[in-house]
Subunit: 323 residues, 2 copies
Amino acid sequence: MSRHAPTPGSEFARIEIIQRLLGEGVASSEQVLLGIGDDAAALAPVDEPLVWTIDSAVEGIHFRRDLMTLEDAGYRATMAAASDLAAMGARPLGLLAALILPREVSDADVEALVRGQRAACDEVGAPLIGGNLARGMELSITTTALGAAASPLRRDGARAGDELAIAGPVGLSAAGLRLLLQQNPAHEEAILAFRRPRARIAAGLTARGVARAAIDVSDGLASDLGHLTRASRIGAEVQASALLTPALQEAAALLDADPLELALQGGEDYALLVAGPGVGALPGFTRIGRCVAGEPGVVLVDAEGRSTKIVERGFDHFAPDPS
Amino acid sequence: MSRHAPTPGSEFARIEIIQRLLGEGVASSEQVLLGIGDDAAALAPVDEPLVWTIDSAVEGIHFRRDLMTLEDAGYRATMAAASDLAAMGARPLGLLAALILPREVSDADVEALVRGQRAACDEVGAPLIGGNLARGMELSITTTALGAAASPLRRDGARAGDELAIAGPVGLSAAGLRLLLQQNPAHEEAILAFRRPRARIAAGLTARGVARAAIDVSDGLASDLGHLTRASRIGAEVQASALLTPALQEAAALLDADPLELALQGGEDYALLVAGPGVGALPGFTRIGRCVAGEPGVVLVDAEGRSTKIVERGFDHFAPDPS
């Protein structure tokens, strides 16, 4: 291309940074026929159904630079998109990202952000093939992820009697966020759950052929399990004791918070929730309850066997700010 | 789902609007196995290589609401992404869109925007399957488009001696923008080229097996043909007379502007530029010049046979504002 070093801050300088950070990952992929530098990416044919998602992370809404680095933000945005593939039991084929960058974002900022995206892609096992750069007032990362699954896992396949199981923590990310807001970084695992959540790709692949329904826990267990019960037209009972992991209890104690409240209402852990016969015995999963006949919704059962209907407080992007 | 009418302005209200506007298009697609309402979309297997792109349209950068409606903005953003498929000679399979919506965007605004997306998708012949909604300070539309092509057309296949041909106008969109900025809506075709550019999907499919290289003209003919010459390591000669269509000359006259300047430097027409033996005779294409041995770059040849080397002024998203 150009024989000159690109002007710092120019579109060309950013494309060079991105090519350098992504190039090797793309080149080593057997799936990618054509990477950055043409009008579009090209992938080898896939003989299974395709699973496809898009997800945006907007500064000030989904992440704050005072609570995480741009490397964390890039990692997290990528994992949030990949988590939708996990929830379909898909193996990832590749990702594209559209960055909207305000003027004050430096080349070093772009490099940090893309390094985070690359780290997430390496963990997910699929290349970030390319994407788009645009200017804007507000920093955002929009990621599209493509995967393949012979029988994509849907939300609507659960039946009464199925076990419910999760892979990954619930509530720990919300605890990490609250600790950071209190400037109390006393619980590394919770803070890592917030800054570096992991898409449960391997768990999704493990659940194939056993799970009858799946969803990723992005808005909170109560809300996302609520979605699954409505799609499947069943009810759900969750055992409180199954949610109370030592890490969550420790982090909740530091916050003087209710660990069950965190587990049920806290989002952005990207745990994988599955329903099916025997899913609680799958490696990497913990049994948390069961599907029951009746009205959709979630009932919590405590150690004494008492049941409480759980109110969902899923995140509405367009709700008025709390006053 | 909910038995109640959704609260106006809520995320659920917007999802209902979007489902209503997109539902029929998705349902009638044989490609789509699973549409809106699960963690990801699912598509039927495709036995050809996949072509995949992502593109953002940001308010204030790519569109202004005083110059076009939100229906135009949705249409245009969708066509800009689909145009990358045209440039690869791909048939579109489907699209996903991520909308970032500021608080002041109403349900009616969302409906207009999505109606424009749907109209573009109908024209392109592929469904908008779903996407993502997020809040932000700045309105943006990020579209990912997936297509299939047995042999994707790249930028790097042109050879000396190949003809150069275009499908669609060049310069007319820039003329339309300038007319609107002068509050002079005197040339409907130019204004339509700006507000409602069309991805040249049919032309891209026509060019398969004949063209050896292709690119869509998004930044301007000089810039995008420049990219093609660098990727293919050839030079290019363009006949000035071939660019001077009656519509462009009329619109330029209204602006007291040079029509060749508009044709070479004006972007966002999304014309399809192809190189190959005999491409000038393809239906829907106009021969504009030829590929020559030598240094990459574009030379303009006038009616008297005089040659001028064209300076590229491609758009750099991160360049300082002109002072």
